[in-house]
């Protein structure tokens, strides 16, 4: 099996052979919800961090009894899978206060009592300040202590440095993948890339890094995609299912870069490898490419989107948001204005999470957008 096939397989289901093997060795898995959760700390504890997603969820009947229809469908899908028992392989779960939806999901998740280690939410400041950095550093320090206590492990400076090195290697390999995607004939589609990224949050990092190296070797000799009309960037709310990418790419677009929390926002910046590891981790995670949940960082987000779009030489940008995600919803309105002012065509697209319920509408809008770019 090729590395790409293996990684795609991992992304298509919640569990996979790597997790089964991990659990078979008596090792633990900890679910987490957001890019503001420092996975190095979990790695350093010898625990596998698994980024929550709603893969395979086709309805949210159970979750709707707890969350409401005004809560985003990603949050409801994750809670649904918890209630259905699909997350029973978690030995613990940690939430950061990404947004109001996730805060409510944390409360309901905790109230269900199905996950053995379920700590308080990590409170991430919404503004960038010196005292905010200290607060965040303390928060992840408390999390580290709780992790050590519950799982009876010791997180040493050495193990943290090892985890930083491993995670930085992942980041570096993914950057190389994104560089390949910038060519006129990228060796991998946007949908395939997303699967590769999702796999990285669902399996041990050392095994993932090995597969990534194999993938890069495979791609080096491949022919590349040339039958597309326009190179596109996608930016916005949580996406872990390639369905939206498939629609775009079936219509002649090719997604070559992104500003997504399963994409560049999760790996673009490394953790510095010198100095106190906890300081380095808190600095990187607190100040990384910001999600719109940071209310004072719009210009940094805009600059990042513009920079990524320029580097990948895209013809247009799709700004998507999950219905009821007001943070991305409002940010996309601001981004639309600023990007269009710079002459970059933009499509603002509201959608539901996961396998698409409204494929027809999205197909029509993307088609119209591609026609607009072609004019």
């Amino acid at each position: 099996m090729s590395a790409l096939s293996e990684l795609t397989k991992v992304s298509e289901a919640l569990t996979n052979s790597h997790i089964e093997s991990w659990k078979g060795q008596g090792k633990k898995v900890l679910g987490y919800n957001c890019t503001y959760m420092p996975e190095e700390i979990v790695h350093a504890a010898g625990i596998l961090p698994f980024r929550m997603r709603g893969t395979g969820c086709t309805e949210t009947t159970l979750a709707d009894s707890y969350l409401a229809t005004v809560n985003c469908s990603f949050a409801r899908a994750c809670l649904e899978l918890l209630i259905e028992g699909k997350y029973d392989f978690f030995d613990g779960a940690i939430f950061v206060y990404s947004c109001d939806h996730m805060c409510a999901t944390h409360s309901n998740w905790k109230a269900h009592g199905k996950t053995p280690f379920m700590e308080n939410i990590i409170s991430v400041p919404h503004t960038i300040t010196e005292y905010g950095l200290k607060w965040y550093r303390d928060e992840i320090g408390i999390f580290r202590d709780k992790l050590e206590e519950h799982f009876e492990v010791k997180i040493t400076e050495e193990s943290l440095k090892d985890a930083i090195n491993t995670c930085n290697e992942t980041r570096s390999l993914l950057k190389r993948l994104y560089e390949l995607r910038r060519s006129d004939t990228p060796p991998i589609t946007g949908a395939q890339s997303l699967s590769v990224l999702v796999a990285g949050t669902s399996m041990p990092k050392d095994q993932y890094n090995q597969l990534l190296k194999e993938l890069l070797n495979e791609l080096a000799g491949s022919e590349g995609v040339s039958d597309y009309k326009h190179k596109l960037m996608i930016s916005g709310s949580e996406i872990d299912d390639p369905a939206l990418f498939n629609i775009i790419e079936d219509l002649g677009g090719l997604v070559v870069t992104d500003s997504l929390c399963f994409g560049t926002r999760s790996f673009w910046e490394p953790v510095r490898e010198n100095g106190d590891p906890m300081d380095a981790i808190s600095d990187r995670y607190y100040k990384h490419i910001p999600c719109p949940r940071m209310f004072d960082s719009y210009s940094k987000r805009l600059d990042f989107v513009k920079d990524m779009a320029k580097k990948a030489d895209v013809d247009g940008i799709i700004l998507e948001s999950i219905k009821y995600c007001d943070s991305h919803g409002v940010d996309n309105v601001m981004l639309e204005g600023d990007l269009e002012d710079k002459g970059i065509p933009v499509l603002v697209l509201e959608r539901e999470y996961g396998a698409l319920a409204d494929t027809g509408r999205i197909r029509t809008r993307v088609q119209a957008f591609l026609e607009r770019i072609s004019r």
Binding site: Y66, D100, S123, H126, T129, F295, Y324, G329, V330, V333
Partner: protein, 447 residues
């Protein structure tokens, strides 16, 4: 920009009229009765001789607030547009001219025949999502449309307790190209959380000082905090009276109290309102009377109220429902220590940390002083028979944990809760007759 702003054109004349009502009820009654019954709105409630002085005092307080804004604009003071959850004391002490978005919206829905619909719809036309809060859009719309002058600074206290509010304020500042300051709320209500908040609060003051050029004057601050403390003492005294059966505190007090709290607390005009509310409630209690006449049911509104139809309160009176309180009226704050400037700043920070919604919506549902903790406490303390939840579609955090709250109230207090899907500022979502029908059905079938 129009020749006359909404404030000058519509609000000030109304405020002048209302604040010009005589102190003597018999004279005021004659004047009020000259207004057609269907046009009296909330001030129809002032026709109760015991509530009259309280109502007129509230109007005088609101009037002074708007005069301060109008005067401030004329004198070139910096105008601060802020979210509702920032205590006005700090603005009064800094001698700037504050106005909060939700107040504009609330007044618009009561002044214009179609409420704030024009302004809400305009924001949607600009591309803003329809899942945002009408409370901010109704206040932002007039500024974007040029019906109201743009502020000099936008200040938000919502980060950490409401993403929607925070995001709209961020959009507002960016679109208007004015400085944006905000205070971040941590998820935890403990001492560490409060210490963080105190630093952030000082940071906010420095930011306002730096942009406005005003400096916090310790003497002025002491005066403001003195008035604020008096209002707080009276507020708590009134809350104690609310425990009595029948409840002697009028339903209208609920809305007016936080209207005054959000605007003029820290100024002399706020104190007579609370004094009048206390005196009239004590008098009723002495007579053994309830404020709604025959009290059939005591209801705690566990979230916001309905603001687009003040007549609803008259109707609640008529069916004998006592509105014990709604969440926005719950200020678990204590008088502020005035021994030093630092102590007063810390006290104001702590007050803001415990402001409604900031306190209840910031963290896990099961914290002691979370939404759940507060509402269970109030339901027990105020002897509630039932609760009502008015869920606005913008309130993702509240809707997301309401199921947990509902269960806890049922289990711990043993009373039912009515769920009303309603937009408190936009009657198009759930009109008054539907709200009345749901409440009637609830009372008939459950209570």
């Amino acid at each position: 920009m129009k020749e006359k702003s909404i404030l000058e054109d519509r609000l000030m004349p109304l405020m002048d009229m209302a604040s010009g009502l005589p102190d003597d009820f018999s004279k005021g009654e004659r004047m009020l009765k000259m207004i057609p019954e269907d046009r009296r709105g909330m001030i129809g409630g002032f026709l109760d001789p015991l509530s009259y002085k309280m109502g007129v005092s509230a109007m005088k307080a609101f009037s002074s607030y708007f005069k301060n804004l109008e005067q401030g604009r004329k004198e070139g003071k910096k105008v601060i547009l802020h979210s509702f959850n920032i205590p006005p004391e700090i603005f009064h002490a800094l001698d700037v001219a504050p106005i909060f978005t939700e107040l504009f919206t609330t007044l618009a829905v009561n002044v214009f025949p179609n409420g704030a619909e024009k302004y809400i719809d305009y924001c949607h036309e600009k591309g803003l999502p329809d899942s945002l809060c009408s409370a901010q859009l109704g206040g932002l719309g007039p500024i974007l449309l040029g019906d109201e002058p743009k502020p000099d600074i936008v200040v938000s206290g919502a980060p950490g307790s409401c993403d929607t509010n925070s995001k709209v304020m961020e959009y507002c500042a960016k679109t208007l190209n004015v400085p944006y300051l905000q205070i971040d709320t941590p998820a935890y209500n403990d001492e560490r959380g409060l210490d963080y908040y105190k630093i952030a609060f000082r940071d906010l003051i420095s930011g306002i000082e730096s942009i406005s050029g005003e400096k916090l004057d310790p003497d002025r601050l002491k005066e403001v905090v003195g008035y604020s403390n008096r209002a707080t003492e009276l507020y708590h005294e009134i809350n104690e009276l609310r425990r009595a059966v029948p409840c002697p505190v009028p339903n209208m007090y609920s809305l007016l109290s936080y209207g005054v709290r959000f605007t003029t607390v820290g100024q002399p005009k706020a104190v007579p309102f609370f004094e009048a509310a206390l005196a009239s409630s004590k008098e009723r209690m002495k007579r053994g009377e309830g404020a709604v006449g025959e009290e059939n049911v005591r209801c705690l509104w566990v979230y916001t109220s309905i603001y687009f139809d003040p007549e609803l309160f008259g109707w609640l009176d008529s069916i004998g429902m006592t509105v014990l309180m709604d969440m926005l009226g719950w200020f678990p704050v204590t008088p502020i220590e005035t021994s030093s400037t630092d102590a007063m700043i810390d006290g104001l920070a702590e007050e803001m940390f415990n402001y409604p919604m900031t306190r209840q919506m910031r963290g896990p549902w099961d914290a002691f002083d979370s939404w759940t903790g507060d509402m269970v406490h109030l339901a027990k303390k105020l002897n509630a028979d039932c609760c009502i939840f008015t869920g606005h579609m913008a309130c993702k955090r509240a809707w997301g944990t309401f199921g947990l709250l509902n269960t806890r109230i049922k289990e711990d207090v043993g009373i039912p809760t009515l769920t009303l899907e309603a937009d408190s500022w936009d009657k198009r979502i759930t009109p008054t007759p539907v709200i009345k029908g749901k409440i009637e059905d609830f009372l008939e079938m459950v209570i």
